[in-house]
Symmetry: C3
Subunit: 292 residues, 3 copies
Amino acid sequence: MKNLVSMKELSIEQIMDILKQAQAFREGEQSKLKQKYTVSNLFFEPSTRTKMSFEMAVRKLHLNVLPFEAGFSSTLKGETLYDTVKVLESIGVDAIVIRHEQNNFFDDLIEKVKPVIINGGDGTGNHPTQSLLDLLTIQQEFGTFEGKEISIVGDIAHSRVARSNADALIKLGAKVNFVCPPEWQAEFDAINYIDEVIESSDVMMMLRVQHERHDGKAYLTTESYHAAYGLTVDREKRMKDSAIIMHPGPFNRDIEIASELIEVDRSRIFKQVENGVFIRMAVIEMILKGRE
Amino acid sequence: MKNLVSMKELSIEQIMDILKQAQAFREGEQSKLKQKYTVSNLFFEPSTRTKMSFEMAVRKLHLNVLPFEAGFSSTLKGETLYDTVKVLESIGVDAIVIRHEQNNFFDDLIEKVKPVIINGGDGTGNHPTQSLLDLLTIQQEFGTFEGKEISIVGDIAHSRVARSNADALIKLGAKVNFVCPPEWQAEFDAINYIDEVIESSDVMMMLRVQHERHDGKAYLTTESYHAAYGLTVDREKRMKDSAIIMHPGPFNRDIEIASELIEVDRSRIFKQVENGVFIRMAVIEMILKGRE
Amino acid sequence: MKNLVSMKELSIEQIMDILKQAQAFREGEQSKLKQKYTVSNLFFEPSTRTKMSFEMAVRKLHLNVLPFEAGFSSTLKGETLYDTVKVLESIGVDAIVIRHEQNNFFDDLIEKVKPVIINGGDGTGNHPTQSLLDLLTIQQEFGTFEGKEISIVGDIAHSRVARSNADALIKLGAKVNFVCPPEWQAEFDAINYIDEVIESSDVMMMLRVQHERHDGKAYLTTESYHAAYGLTVDREKRMKDSAIIMHPGPFNRDIEIASELIEVDRSRIFKQVENGVFIRMAVIEMILKGRE
């Protein structure tokens, strides 16, 4: 693994190695990197959890962070992403985490620049570290993916999480249901009624309604979306005893999930955030270690 | 002390302990914290001195800082403050300094989240570390608060500094005068003429006219405000020999204070900024030490 | 050298000392500073390469960085640059790098504040660290400046790079050509045709067309500028075998330089960025060392 841009390129063995290393970091293992590398986080879209999670991961690995402010960079003077990355390469940055609104932005970079490229989310495309932290959370819960039923509910068409997770979960033997309104179905075979899956699912993975990607076209009002596709207090009662709730965040309270359910016993929403730091430590360490 | 959100909750003994520890840091004492904690500064309102002062304090304590950009965070996607703080908790942040436009924002957080919460300024409410650094500056000057006459002049109604300082100074035995135009008097008993207090005061504490909180309603022009309520060059000459000038900053030159007086001998304006770093070191260390 | 604000104040000997120290850092020499100073980068104009280059330089010198966000500071509340710098002085900052849109902003600071002031670019005035990194790049190439012909091409009137470089190169014995449209000639004696210099120059230093400084007045279209003043693929073929291409960046591909030439063998564009880190290390170390 020289870079990490999508889940598609990872073998099952590589996925399992990352999860194992992340779990080891979670249990207190220290970094084995020999050099004090420099990492920079280039986030061209707003983010709290992913960016801060990477910032924390880099600090826990005892590496340097070189700060980058997208809203105050030469991008405003028209510099291309490739040229910005070449500048960071020349300055001596070893690894670059990038979030960018353009799908597959990394096609212009991979094999052309020296720093490691880690995809922190590309448009409606991929979000591999989110996918890996979701996998770790599921593995911690059930010990296996084989035969587990995971229902991904909501804004499938606009969700890079849905795409990344679908690839990986199916490869690992899970059954994946996509649940969404017909308008958001995209290329997936989707189920249009959440009540069809609520009782059989091991994981209810609720997606954020991404208002900012809908260009003002609201298909449903907030209330009717919650009633038709949300995880309501009533629906939660119908879930299996062992089933868990997940959400990649940031969540819209009382739209895709009832506010009361965010911190309910079966919710793993903040545990996902915890796992994110360890997954990112594992990914960064494994890639940089491969270069030593 | 588990958090620091307002001066009201501090006993006289606790205030004196903080001032003593801050003075010790000022004289070169080193941090006694055993762990390398992580601190994050969540500033949702513009700030130079308070934010950078906390950043410096954290570095001088040899702790980690996790950067947060309010203008580029998930807050833009509608995330609540509580949810953002829970994310930082899950990422592993130990202490969070928050400046927020909403009064008492901390009511939603205290007792509900694990990280230490330090109030870096809430709307027109509190600003306890500013108050503590003001107290340290007065203590360094006079050795005591008992019987000292402190005149707080200006925008009392919109000032979290006025509120925080009033509570503390009165508790410590000082005499506090509030001087302001009748329109800015709020719940305080105020004096409407600065000339009534200029000769008797030990401290002239000038407040910033907060244009940004007045919604465009200017009660007085700049010149007439300076003449009626400002510390003019003429008024400074009438101050007692031992009296000092203070200002929490940022100051408007020639509005609440004549430009020539900013760095005059009796001005403690930049010494207040120096003290701010040591106060914040003391507050952060004492709270984190209490959790060890 | 107590500060660095323009090339004019540097003697030939001082310039040579900086280049020598930068080259030593490039070859792996470590910092000899005895204290862990704190440096802050105050960038009031967008920048990627200069700001991140200084950030990297400070880290490589094992110093502290105190982050400053111009777009979220008290400057928004009307604080002057002098007052902001005095606040940083009081907080304990030892050296401040400033980029500011106002020419000669440093006249209000030098001799009045304690921290070291390093000019990171003032309006259309100076950009001394850029100049020094350009000199290092030329020295690495030719071993000398004496008799070398350097053609600076483009937006002379708006370029602080042109001004800074002109002073230094002429002082060091080089021949400098300014090539630009008559409208951008400013106070320089300029040549109006690039083809007059393309075959004789040792260095073709292409400047960025600074759309953001032209207030919407475009003298030429993009295509006609490229044809008349740009380094085209055809012109590059007419350069001397030993001649090199330089550009301070960020570059406009296909305006001042053909996209295909950015990474051609004779281009030193990204080597300039590499050198920038070492030049900044040298400048910061030499000034702070002088204060020890």
